[in-house]
Amino acid sequence: MNRIFRLPKGGLYLHSQKEFVKNLPIRNAVLPPIAVVPMVQPDGNEVTCLVHVGDSVQEGVLIGKGKGKHSLHIHSPIPGTVRDIRNIPLPSGMEAPAVFIELGGEFDRLGKKEVVYPWRSLSHRELKTLLIEKGIVDGNFPLDGPLELLIINGMEVEPYLCSTYRILMERSDAILEGVRILQKLLDPARTLVVLEDKAEEVQASLGASLGNEQMEGKEGGSGKQIELVLLEGKYPAGDTEQLVNIFFHQKVTPKKSFGEMGVMVVDIATTFAVYEGVALRKPLMERIITVSGKAIKRPANLKVRIGTPIMDIIEECGGLTQAPVKVVCGGPFRGLGIFDLRTPVTREMSGILFLTKAEIHPGVRTSCINCGKCIEVCPEGLHPARLFKWIDHGFYKEALEDSLLGCTECGCCAFVCPSRIPLVQGFQVGKIHAAKLLNTKSIKDQPNG
C-alpha cells in the first residue's frame, strides 16, 4: 500500500482543474422531457430497433438489441411514448439512428426503495446472463475466467473530470460489491484496485469499506484478496495500456489482446454498473458525469439518464455564463468535441465540458522547431515529431518501422507542442494508411495471393 508506482516514461503533471466540482456530491438530474437514445453499439455496429413510432415504453424496457451473440442491449431510460426514430449526429462525428422517447406514464424505479438482491448464490452462467441482459457489457467484454490479473482502474488523471472520484467517495461499498461480482465472474488470481497516490480520501473511503466487509463477514473468510495499489497522478497513468504495462508482469505484445493474455482492466463506472445490474437488477440507463468548464454557470456531478440532450444539461446547470468555444464529451484529452447541443448523453460519456478560449490555449500551426518536448512527454518512448514527418510526407512504411502502432493517442505530444502541430490526427491518419499497407503486404505474402 505504501509503495507508489510510477509511469515508466514520459507523461504530464497537469493542472487538474478539478476544484470546480471535486467536492460537489452527485445529484440526480431532472428527467429529460424527450430522451434521445442512439441505436448503435459502442464499436459502431448496428442495432436492431425493437420499438416503433407510437409505441409506449416503460422505464428500463429493452428497446434495442445488437446483432450477434454477446451484443449490447439498449434499454429505455425513461417511461413514455416513442415519438420518432431518425438519424442524429454522435460525438464521434458519425450519424446513427436514435429513438426519441417523450416522457410520460408510470415509473418502475424512480422514487421507490432500492431492493438489493442476493447475488452470491448465483451461478457463473446466471451472472453472465444478467450482465448481458442488463446491457452492461457487450460482446467485446470477455466474461469467462480464469484471469491472471484483474485491474480496477480508479485513476482519473484527465483534468476536470471527477465522476470516478465522486463514485469512489460516495459509493465505495457498491464499488467493492462490484469488484466481488467481477471476481466471481472472472476468477482472477490477483485483483488490484489502482488509486491515485494523492487521493488520500478515496484510499480511506475504500479502505473503510474493505474493513466493514470483513467485519460483516460477507465473504465468509474465503473471499479473494483485493489489493489497493497507488499510482502517481500523472497523465496518462489511467490508460488501460499504461496500467497493464505497469502492473502486468508479462511483456505486452501487440498481437494478443489483453483478454487473451489473462489481464483485464475495468473502470469504476463499469464496476458501478455491474453492481447495479447484478445486485439491483437495474439495466444500464444512467451515467454519472461531471459537468464542468468555465463557461457553465453551476458545474456539477450529475446522475443523468442516457439520452438526455446536452441542451437539457446546460439548463440543469444554470445555463452558460459565456459562449464556450468547445463543448467536449469526455475528458479534455480523450474526449470529442461536439457541434450540436442536441447530442445526447451516451453510455461512454464521463463528463461534459464547456470550455472557454482561455482554457484551451488554441494556436495557429507553425513549423516544427525541434524542441524535443514531444519526445520528453511520450509515455511510449516514441519520437512523435519524426513520426509525424514520416506520415506528412507519405512514408508509411518508415512510420511503421518507427513504432507508429505503439502510439496510444494519449495526446501528450500534441498538448505540449508549442507549434500546435496536430500530431494525434496525423497518427490516426497514418494508422489508417499503415493498415492498408499491412493488408496488401499480407496478401502479397500469401501464395497465389
Binding site: 480523450r334 482554457e359 490555449h361 507553425t366 522547431i369 524535443g372 518507427d402 498538448f415 508549442p418 494525434v424
Partner: protein, 363 residues
C-alpha cells in the same frame, strides 16, 4: 451559438506555451542586457542594434510577402537581429550589422526553409560571417565612458588583451587579473568599493578574499560586444527563462561544468602556473561566455532533441570553447564552438533517439 463551436481532433486543450510566446519571451529578457550596452557605449550601440533588427525583420517580411504567409509574428526574426547586434562591438560601421543580418536570414535560415529547418544558429553564423570578413572593424572595442570619466576610447577586451600579452609579449607567471593589472587595464571606481564591501561583509568571515577587478566583470564595466558585458543582467534573464521552462537547463549545465572543470584544471598552464590554478570566474564572465552558453547554445532549433543529446552537445561546446580560448587565436571561442558542434547535432539526434517501449533497439 452552435456556429461558434470549434471541432478539432484530440486533445481538446493545449499547454499555454507556443513557439511565438517562447521566442518573444526570450527577446524580452535580452532587452536589459542590450540596453546596458547602449548605456555603456552610447547611441552608436543603439544604431547597430536597430540596424540588425530592422534588416532582419525586413528580410523576414519580404520573404513573407513572396511566400504569401507571414512569419513575422513568431518573433524569430526579431531575436536573430537582436542577438546579432548584441554580438557586435559598438564601433562597427552600420553596414556590418546589416550584412550579418542578411547572411543570417537569407543564407542560414531561409535557404533551408525558415524557422526550424536551419541546422546552424542564424545569429551566430551572421556574426561569424562578418567576424571573418571584416576582422579589423569587428575587433575594435570601446572603453565604457563612465569608467574613466573621459570620452570613449578604443581598447581591447580583457580576453584579447590577455591573449596579446601571452602570445606576443610572452608574459608568464600570473593569473589573468594580475596580467591585466600589470598591463594597465583600467578599473572603474565602483569596482573598488563593491569589492571592499563584499569582502568586508560576506567573504572575509568565510575566509575568502575577492581580488579587485571581478566586480567590473560581473556588473559589466568592461569593453566588449554590446550585449555580452553585463553578467548580472544576463544571469537574471537566464534564471527567469529557465524557471519558466523556456530555456533548457541541460545544455548550459553541461557547458558550464565541462568548461569550468577544464579551465580550473588546465587554465593556469599557458601562464606558466601549476595544474588546478585556472581562473574559472574570470573565464565565465568574459568573452561573451554567458551570452553564448545561455542564449545561443540553447537555441531549440539547432540543439539536440533529447536530454542526453543536449548534455553531450554541451560537453562538446564547453570543451571546444576551452581549446579555442587557451590555444587558439581568438579570445572568445564560444561562438565558433557552438557553430562547430551544431554540425554534430543530426548525428546526436540519430544515435540518441528515444527508445520505444518494449523495443531494445533504438530506432
Amino acid at each position: 451559438m452552435d456556429e461558434t463551436l470549434i471541432i478539432t481532433g484530440t486533445p481538446q486543450i493545449f499547454n499555454r506555451t507556443t513557439t511565438a510566446r517562447m521566442i518573444w519571451t526570450v527577446c524580452l529578457w535580452l532587452v536589459p542586457s542590450a540596453l546596458w550596452g547602449v548605456y555603456l557605449y552610447g547611441i552608436g550601440a543603439l544604431k547597430i542594434l536597430l540596424a540588425s533588427i530592422l534588416t532582419s525583420i525586413g528580410i523576414e517580411g519580404g520573404i513573407g510577402l513572396l511566400r504569401k504567409e507571414s512569419t513575422l509574428q513568431d518573433g524569430s526574426a526579431c531575436l536573430t537581429g537582436l542577438l546579432i547586434g548584441m554580438l557586435l562591438p559598438p564601433t562597427v560601421p552600420l553596414f556590418i550589422p546589416i550584412l550579418a543580418a542578411i547572411f543570417a536570414q537569407l543564407v542560414v535560415k531561409w535557404s533551408f526553409g525558415g524557422l526550424g529547418k536551419n541546422w546552424m544558429n542564424p545569429a551566430l553564423a551572421g556574426w561569424a560571417f562578418v567576424w571573418l570578413s571584416f576582422p579589423d572593424q569587428v575587433r575594435t572595442w570601446l572603453f565604457p565612458t563612465m569608467v574613466r570619466g573621459v570620452d570613449a576610447i578604443t581598447s581591447s577586451t580583457p580576453l584579447t588583451l590577455l591573449k596579446n600579452k601571452l602570445f606576443l609579449e610572452g608574459v608568464k607567471g600570473g593569473s589573468p587579473m594580475e596580467v591585466l593589472a600589470s598591463a594597465g587595464f583600467p578599473r572603474s571606481l565602483m569596482d573598488g568599493s563593491w569589492t571592499d564591501w563584499l569582502n568586508g561583509k560576506i567573504l572575509e568571515p568565510l575566509g575568502i578574499l575577492l581580488p579587485p577587478g571581478y566586480m567590473d566583470l560581473f556588473f559589466g564595466f568592461i569593453p566588449g560586444a554590446i550585449g555580452e558585458t553585463s553578467a548580472l543582467l544576463l544571469l537574471i534573464g537566464t534564471i527567469a527563462l529557465i524557471g519558466k521552462g523556456i530555456l533548457p537547463w541541460e545544455v548550459p549545465l553541461s557547458v558550464f561544468s565541462v568548461f569550468g572543470i577544464l579551465v580550473f584544471l588546465f587554465g593556469g598552464l599557458p601562464y606558466g602556473l601549476e595544474l588546478g590554478t585556472g581562473d574559472v570566474l574570470f573565464h565565465f564572465f568574459t568573452g561573451g561566455f554567458l551570452l553564448g552558453a545561455f542564449y545561443m547554445a540553447t537555441d531549440l532549433v539547432t540543439s539536440p532533441l533529447t536530454r542526453w543529446g543536449g548534455i553531450l552537445y554541451g560537453v562538446g561546446i564547453g570543451g571546444i570553447t576551452f581549446l579555442i580560448r587557451m590555444f587558439g587565436g581568438s579570445g572568445e571561442g564560444i561562438g565558433f564552438a557552438i557553430l562547430f558542434v551544431n554540425v554534430f547535432v543530426p548525428i546526436l539526434n540519430k544515435f540518441l533517439a528515444p527508445r520505444p517501449k518494449g523495443r531494445d533497439k533504438r530506432v
